[in-house]
């Protein structure tokens, strides 16, 4: 028994050694044949839901698009992309370990980011130390400007919590001055970094615009019944209901609001509002609901992107970070092509300083941050149009008060 085990062990070790040796010898030759790009993404665990809609389909679509066009242009030839993929299991430790592995063992040329604020902040220092460009797309944090200063390789694409809350408060302030809504707001938020940052920024921004918070509570992640919360929010008789929520709660809050016939003039819910799932579930009932994100749905490039996304992945993209994720990958590709060689530091510098043509228009980052980001959108006739900041081209006028639930 022991000897059999030992033999198996020897055989396994032998294979492993052989595989490693082959891998080591093979990689320098490979380097000229293709560009190896790696990522660790949440395929399991609590973040799988968000990663599965916003990030992963866009990685797949982009790789498909690039390879169909022959690859990334490097000097005078085009190199196809080869992908190395891991599951970070929604855990910071796993995500960091996977990054180390991608860099040191798989020796990939570039690394794409994980999904969520938490995981992007977790892998940030490692990507910085290893010298890989870090496209922290799906991260919303007020620390972004500081982090972009500290990590010269990193870029942030969704704006800060303060930006998002301020854009919402601005929009509502304008509606209040037009007499379309009153000064009372009921606000609920999920008790994690996302909810805490956005509600903290919201409290300040709403106060600045002369609003009163008649109800202001947090709820824990994974709450299975939000009706008690909503009943007290309704009892406070608000003009606007604001929820900084995650997809399951976004759905649950909307469903309960419909059941309770709660029809505030503004009904705003968080992550998930911009998902095709939302429209799919509530149909015409989604009309008038405001949420985080938005896009310029009339743009021909985005219409084309929507069609390609649907054809390649079988589903529509979300109307917030999906198109930005795809655009960030276009930026990466163009930066590599401009630099003309696999020089990661030069590519990172180019991403921060260059101007790029993407599906969301011309992009030029400032201080490592994408400045012009949609913060508030609204479902209008089956499409999630961007409302704020109103200064951006393509912003639509809000429909207020929201029609009664149907």
């Amino acid at each position: 028994m022991i000897s059999a085990n030992r033999r198996t062990l020897l055989r396994v070790t032998g294979f492993a050694a052989l595989a490693t040796a082959l891998g080591t010898f093979a990689s320098p030759a490979d380097a000229q044949e293709k560009i190896r790009i790696g990522y660790a993404i949440s395929k399991t665990g609590p973040y799988a839901g968000g990663a599965g809609i916003t990030t992963l389909p866009n990685y797949e679509l982009w790789v498909k698009d690039v390879n169909a066009a022959g690859g990334i242009k490097l000097g005078d030839k085009k190199l196809p992309i080869e992908i190395v993929e891991y599951d970070d299991r929604s855990s910071s430790e796993e995500a960091v370990k996977a990054i180390e592995r991608l860099a040191n063992q798989d020796k990939v040329d570039f690394i794409l980011p994980p999904w969520s604020t938490g995981l992007n902040l977790a892998v940030g220092p490692t990507l910085n130390r290893l010298g890989y460009p870090h496209l922290a797309v799906t991260s919303v944090t007020d620390k972004a400007p500081d982090l972009a200063k500290r990590w010269s390789n990193a870029t942030f694409w969704l704006g800060t919590s303060a930006q998002i809350s301020e854009a919402l408060a601005d929009l509502m302030g304008k509606l209040k001055s037009e007499g379309k809504i009153g000064p009372n707001i009921a606000m609920v938020s999920i008790a994690d970094q996302f909810g805490i940052e956005l509600s903290a920024a919201g409290r300040e921004a709403f106060k600045k615009h002369g609003f009163t918070l008649t109800y202001d509570k947090t709820y824990p992640m994974g709450a299975q019944d939000l009706q008690p919360l909503l009943k007290d929010a309704i009892a406070s008789n608000p003009d606007a209901f604001i929820a900084f929520s995650y997809p399951p709660d976004t759905i649950a809050l909307t469903e309960q609001a419909q059941l309770l016939k709660f029809n505030p003039k503004i009904f705003y819910v968080g992550v998930g509002t911009a998902f095709p799932l939302y429209k799919g579930k509530f149909g015409a009932g989604s009309d008038g609901v405001m949420g985080i994100g938005g896009w310029n749905a009339d743009s021909p490039q985005l219409k084309d992107y929507l069609a390609r996304h649907k054809a390649a992945t079988g589903k529509e993209p979300d109307r917030w970070a999906s198109s930005i994720t795809y655009a960030s990958l276009q930026v990466l590709q163009q930066a590599i092509e401009k630099v003309g060689k696999l020089d990661r530091a030069a590519v990172a510098a180019e991403i921060r300083s260059g101007t790029f043509d993407t599906i969301i228009g011309k992009i030029k980052l400032k201080d490592g941050l994408l400045q012009e980001v949609w913060s508030v959108g609204q479902w209008q006739n089956g499409e999630f149009y961007a409302l704020a900041p109103a200064s951006l081209p393509g912003a639509r006028a809000p429909v207020v008060p929201k029609a009664q639930w149907q």
Binding site: T44, G52, K217, Y219, A223, Q224, L277
Partner: protein, 291 residues
């Protein structure tokens, strides 16, 4: 009527907790399988109901007729060809529990992996019986009321079957002492398999009904396993009535805390209640100390 407005929605939430715990109480209490893949099985049933509803337009209540026998058969096969061997090999209850934990931990990843391949990681949700109904001045959703009704009916039926029938008595005997049950001529392996399969059927009932009003994805199983474990242990392992009462109690306490104290403390209240019950009665509300 704040009191009614707490108790009714609380009972409805608790009904769901009881419903998702009923299957585990049979699988763990009687068949001795600490089924860590419990939540994944529940989500799999939810996906099944979703597919039947969105693909064929079959209502979730009709889907039950299909899902329950299929789940029972699958669970019976699982017990017969995998778990029974472990149960026979394990020297005592402790060893059996550890083996079953390890195996079902593996099964968890198999089910989750299959769901990820089939449905991906994103969220799913559909609307069925999402109609408001006013009971004593409190607005409730019909789909959640249906879940409560099923929990009460199924729980009651299983309780009666366990206490009033010959097979039920035999099953309870196994739960108390499998070796002694064997001595009086009870076919422990066959009945344990039956209890496990029946538990699997109840998981399917829970999954199908819950899918009518909760948003779910392939990664969410662990949430249900945890909640079911809390309810089962609080109610007294293997006690159906205990699971029912503990589930309802949990729902009412969570709703009361959300309305009267702070919605942020519902999770804390769950575990405070759980610890409180275990401190006062370590075997759970309806549990009896092992002889």
């Amino acid at each position: 009527m704040l009191l009614v407005d707490i108790i009714l929605p609380g009972l409805v939430l608790g009904g769901m907790y009881a419903l998702i715990a009923l299957g585990l109480t049979l699988q763990y209490g009687v068949a001795r399988i600490m089924n860590l893949s419990y939540g994944e099985s529940l989500v799999a049933a939810a996906f099944g109901a979703f597919s039947l509803y969105s693909g064929l337009g079959l209502s979730p209540l009709a889907a039950l007729l299909l899902a329950v026998p299929v789940a029972m058969l699958l669970n019976w096969l699982l017990y017969r060809f995998l778990l029974e061997r472990l149960m026979r090999r394990g020297k005592d209850r402790g060893a059996q529990e550890i083996d079953s934990i390890l195996v079902t931990f593996g099964i968890l990843f198999v089910i989750q992996g299959a769901m990820l391949v089939a449905f991906g990681g994103q969220y799913y949700s559909y609307s069925y019986l999402s109609i408001p109904v006013v009971v004593l001045g409190s607005t409730l959703a019909v789909n959640r009321l249906v879940a409560l009704l099923f929990a009460a009916l199924v729980g009651g039926a299983v309780y009666l079957a366990l206490t009033r029938t010959r097979i039920g008595t035999a099953v309870r005997a196994i739960a108390v002492d499998a070796n002694a049950a064997r001595l009086v001529g009870i076919d422990v392996a066959a009945l344990s398999g039956l209890a496990f399969a029946f538990g699997g059927g109840l998981v399917a009932v829970g999954g199908v009904l819950v899918s009518m009003f909760l948003t779910f994805n392939a990664a969410m199983g662990v949430v249900f396993t945890m909640k079911a474990l809390v309810v089962v242990i609080m109610g007294g392992v293997g006690n159906v009535m205990g699971a029912l009462v503990a589930g309802l109690l949990l729902g009412v306490v969570e709703t009361a805390v959300a309305r009267l104290v702070d919605p942020g403390l519902t999770l804390a209240a769950t575990y405070a209640l759980f610890l409180g019950v275990l401190l006062i009665k370590p075997t759970g509300l309806f549990g009896r100390a092992a002889p």
